[in-house]
Subunit: 362 residues, 2 copies
């Protein structure tokens, strides 16, 4: 899943260049390239499909020339993650026929950061093995290391399950329930239980299991899969668009996972970060001696704990930050953002104001 | 005096566009234009001389096409205000002959803000009348309205002097001493005495009085005036440059005013502001309902007490400031500055770092 609206990392991210196209970690590669690289030892390139917004399809193909162009699935409208997975499933059925229903699919995010790719691949192997064994939906629950209020949580129930041996000895549990993003007190309590894991938004299932659970949880969505697959087989793009447009825009958590009868959780410890907003760069980028993160050689005078990004634009551009503690300053050619590190979620409000002003370019 | 290095209002000000070329008040005109306009009802245009850096002379002539080009005096090196006034005095002597020694000169700043030009002109009339009466140096002392730590002070002694009647009934005192910029406690004490006035850096004297006092206070500077005047008369520009280069770079306060035998102070109340640094915009520009000053239509979300300037550059450029209280954000085409409002004096340190990096353009 490589969609995304590009609001949270404005002004570096834009509608035409959302988060997965950014270099938000200490790497020369974009998050999308890193996401694909992390799984290429595990899957053949032609088995990797990338679902993204129609307006991003070409840029995605250019960034990943080794992925077959037809494997980039263009979403004609924004229909959230449930719509995305309905469309992607239809594509697989159209391409591979109904035999594909027995195949196991890994649904992965293109804009998260994986610190330990080896451990990540061990975790994926475990999840795929579990998903292949029975009619079940499998997800990754990340063992938390801080009382994070920016993530949803999955609460697991009971004892570690006895699942087929996989390398890495990675525990699997049954899920008991999903929790929305908690407040600080609840997050602290969650951290103490050891049974609350971060909801990673990554899933593993046989297509048949997905369709069966979706039919029970959100029949309208499930009923759309086969017609879209048929329209795709017929090459009737207009009909695909029409069917897709009629889907509700809901998340797969809401449409499926929270209502599913049987969800298993692979407890994961591969160093995951969803890089939710600018302040996450403190965790993903190297710090200087005063705790600052800098990109693009800005001038910092008497600053500490700041995140200062000076993205090279068409013209040379200098950024100077003086006497600041705990602030984010992002300069991106035609736009500048300044916000306290603990208020980066409010960047969306600035993007909303730009929309109101009709600044679509931004 | 229209020199200036352009450090305090970086990045809007540059070496090639220092403060007097900026529009730092709620006006379509630069400070230099405003300064000239304020005195044109009082002096004929060909009696207005403008001393500025050599690299600024052409831009100064372009900005003020109604001032005779020859009246723009180009300083070939930075020799502070004393050097500037030695050169300007030599120019007057070279141009008008030794009779000029009897003329009274008003030395005014080009980068201050005058709120009440009528009252300003009344004050100038009084100062000129006093300076014309006897061998004396006259300065304007601004009645303070806050315990400002950013200005020097002049302490006046004794009673109001009995001077020739001038319109406006503006009091004149003898000065007792000059004080450097005080700390907060001293500034508060100064405010209470009523005898401590802000040092405006504006002066009035007969040329003969200036030369006599300068001979006593700083003989090296005084001795340079006649040779420079002679070189100017001879059109020997190389010799002018050489003589000027040999001058020490000292302020006229240090070289003359603090050591002069007789200094009179005109107590002034025409609404003066030297617009010392970015935080001064709170006093010179209109505030929005949250106490913000904005220029160039930036997006402010949940901000208060901020100064945000988005100077239109060659390309369109958006500035968004979110959740900030009391900060300065300046965007000027190829440079961005962020600094707390109470630390704007430290901007010089950023400029110093840019010099160290060899960024002369900036």
């Amino acid at each position: 899943m490589a969609g995304g609206s590009g609001e949270r990392f404005w002004p570096l991210s834009r509608r035409s260049r959302p988060k997965q196209f950014l270099r938000l970690a200490d790497s020369a590669k974009t998050l999308l390239e890193q996401a694909v690289e992390a799984i290429t030892p595990l899957f053949p390139l032609d088995a990797i499909f990338i679902a993204t917004g129609e307006h991003l399809a070409e840029a995605t193909r250019e960034l990943l020339p080794h992925i077959p162009a037809a494997n980039v699935i263009a979403e004609p409208y924004q229909r959230n993650t449930a719509g995305c997975l309905v469309l992607a499933t239809a594509h697989l059925l159209a391409r591979f026929g109904n035999d594909a229903a027995r195949a196991v699919v890994a649904v992965l995010a293109a804009d998260h950061l994986i610190a330990d790719p080896d451990r990540y691949r061990e975790t994926l192997r475990t999840a795929l093995a579990v998903a292949d064994r029975e009619e079940v939906l499998v997800t990754l629950g990340i063992a938390p290391n801080r009382p994070e209020t920016g993530y949803g949580y999955i609460e697991v129930s009971g004892e570690r399950l006895d699942v087929p041996a996989a390398p890495g000895d990675i525990p699997v549990y049954a899920s008991s329930r999903f929790h929305e993003k908690p407040d600080r007190d609840a997050a602290t309590a969650y951290l103490a239980t050891g049974r609350h894991l971060w909801n990673s938004g990554m899933f593993f299932w046989r297509i048949s299991s997905f369709l069966a659970e979706l039919s029970a949880a959100s029949p309208q969505l499930a009923r759309a899969v086969e017609p879209i697959a048929a329209a795709l087989r017929d090459g009737d793009d207009k009909w695909v668009r029409s069917l897709f447009r009629d889907l509700p825009a809901v998340s797969i958590d809401y449409a499926l996972m929270e209502k599913a009868r049987r969800v298993l959780v692979v407890k994961s410890d591969f160093g995951w970060d969803d890089i939710g907003a600018w302040d996450a760069l403190d965790r993903t980028m190297p710090l200087d001696g005063s705790g600052n993160v800098t990109v693009g050689d800005p001038v910092l005078v008497n600053c500490s704990g700041c995140i200062v990004v000076n993205e090279p634009g068409p013209a040379e551009q200098t950024v100077a930050v003086v006497g600041m503690d705990g602030f984010v300053v992002i300069v991106s050619g035609d736009a500048v953002l300044v916000v306290p590190k603990d208020r980066t979620q409010e960047v969306r409000a600035a993007v909303a104001e730009l929309k109101r002003r009709g600044s679509d370019r931004l």
